[in-house]
Symmetry: C2
Subunit: 122 residues, 2 copies
Amino acid sequence: MSVPNYEQIGNQLKVLAHPVRLRILDALRRDAECVCHLETLLEKPQPYVSQQLRLLREAGFIQDEKEGQNVYYRLMNDEVQSWLGAILDDPQDLTAGPLGHTQLVNCACPKCARTVTALDVT
Amino acid sequence: MSVPNYEQIGNQLKVLAHPVRLRILDALRRDAECVCHLETLLEKPQPYVSQQLRLLREAGFIQDEKEGQNVYYRLMNDEVQSWLGAILDDPQDLTAGPLGHTQLVNCACPKCARTVTALDVT
DNA sequence: ATAATATATGCAGAGTTTTGAATATACGAT
DNA sequence: ATCGTATATTCAAAACTCTGCATATATTAT
């Protein structure tokens, strides 16, 4: 029976404790997304987004998968899903309302192209 | 249906994301403790401990209760208990072993006095 | 009143995180 | 080979966090 490793857990939480990174993770709860999507969603410059993705990846929250010239990021596993559920869905005693994921399409990646075409055939 | 308040949640997590503060919270999971206890447990100077307690208090994780010249801190509510359970008891994919709370008595507060006397009658 | 004890607050230097900007890589298309 | 697109890395200045130290307050005991 060992004692929790407060350093480690603290470091993980530190990565989580950031509005933009939380928002990225929240977006990835629904589905994997490529960098360009997140760029559009967050309205932040691409290097900035890549940087946050790197931190999340290095902390083990997400994984990347190259697909053609795009890189898709998804949550690492179901444990991360539950953590995010716990953290984002029941906002402690504090402010913030319940659920309500962010939507967003409209970048030029293959995935969007597919979706748009599907809905938009002349 | 509103979207989570990432700023708020991020700020809460930021307070959690600190080894000493996690350790304090872990200690308070079992029972309320006075400052002097935590001082002994953490082996940190009293002003330092009080400062961390303040952050935890202001973030809504703990509450204080004056009792004579001591101040006892306890977790704010059962939601905090569950958060801590989730965070400290199943250490993500990361390192750290399972459970195993920290023990510690031996300061001169009334509570300790009681305990020690109870076990230690001549 | 005065002293002693328990806890809180304020402040500052060292260290770390954040974010923007420039640049690099990798890959597919021409 | 060259170009264009998607993503990654590097660096540095500003902002913020951490922690130690000095000091303040509040309560009880003498």
